[in-house]
Symmetry: C2
Subunit: 144 residues, 2 copies
């Protein structure tokens, strides 16, 4: 349980106190856009996060109520991380980063996704939020 130290009462600053580093939003990206949900899956991303950093970020995200951790349905040695509603609501941030990055740098973004985001950003955000909620709900139902 790590307590959040807010540098100021500014909402931008506070958001950055939680999400403002080079790794946290990549974990959320992997959950939303790559369907990942386990420690091992997060380790396999192209950016090669270190194991101790991943463990630390997952624990911060959990203690901030952005994701929840549960034993996987199939294996007791595996954990499944799911987005909370607070986590689902970071999707607009991730989408803004996708649009800015793909506009100003050379990236390998999926043209279909880019098109979808450019055509109707708000409805695309709503779609990915809906999908993320469905996924989280599904993992909750499995537990019960």
């Amino acid at each position: 349980m790590k307590e959040l130290n807010q540098r100021s009462a500014c909402p931008v600053s506070t958001s950055l106190d939680v999400l403002g580093d080079k790794w946290t939003l990549l974990i959320l990206r992997d959950m939303v856009f790559a369907g990942k949900s386990t420690y091992g899956q997060f380790l396999q991303s192209a950016e090669k996060i270190a194991t101790n950093i991943l463990a630390d970020r997952l624990s911060v995200l959990e203690s901030q109520g952005i994701l929840t951790k549960a034993v996987a349905v199939d294996k007791k040695s595996k954990f499944t991380y799911s987005l909370t509603e607070k986590g689902v609501e970071t999707i607009p941030i991730i989408v803004a980063l996708i649009l800015w990055g793909s506009k100003h740098y050379i990236t390998d973004i999926d043209p279909g996704l880019l098109n979808e985001l450019q055509a109707g950003k708000d409805s695309a955000i709503e779609k990915y939020q809906r999908l993320a909620r469905e996924k989280s709900l599904a993992s909750l139902l499995h537990d019960a």
Copy 2:
């Protein structure tokens, strides 16, 4: 001139390579929402950035073409930083952070701004982008 080291070709990752730390977006916030444009003004924000970090971030932002540096109109010992179009286009990211932060944490956000953003996010973003462009254009005209 610091070269950007992209960890991967993912647009989220690349955006975070540039903007993903606890200070960079606060400088841009100060330019967009507090009308700040000088080193001394950036130092006075509530979060208390260290002088060496500020100097470093300004030089990165300049070398990434997000802002430009020019001698101030009134004083030769002062510099004025202005947003480029690439910088203006970070405003959707900042707005997404404002909305997420103010929704999930206790902050002192201006209720008028919050209302404006919640009422019509896209048009509010357009408004602040237009204002930022006007401000940058004005400082360019002063130089000539």
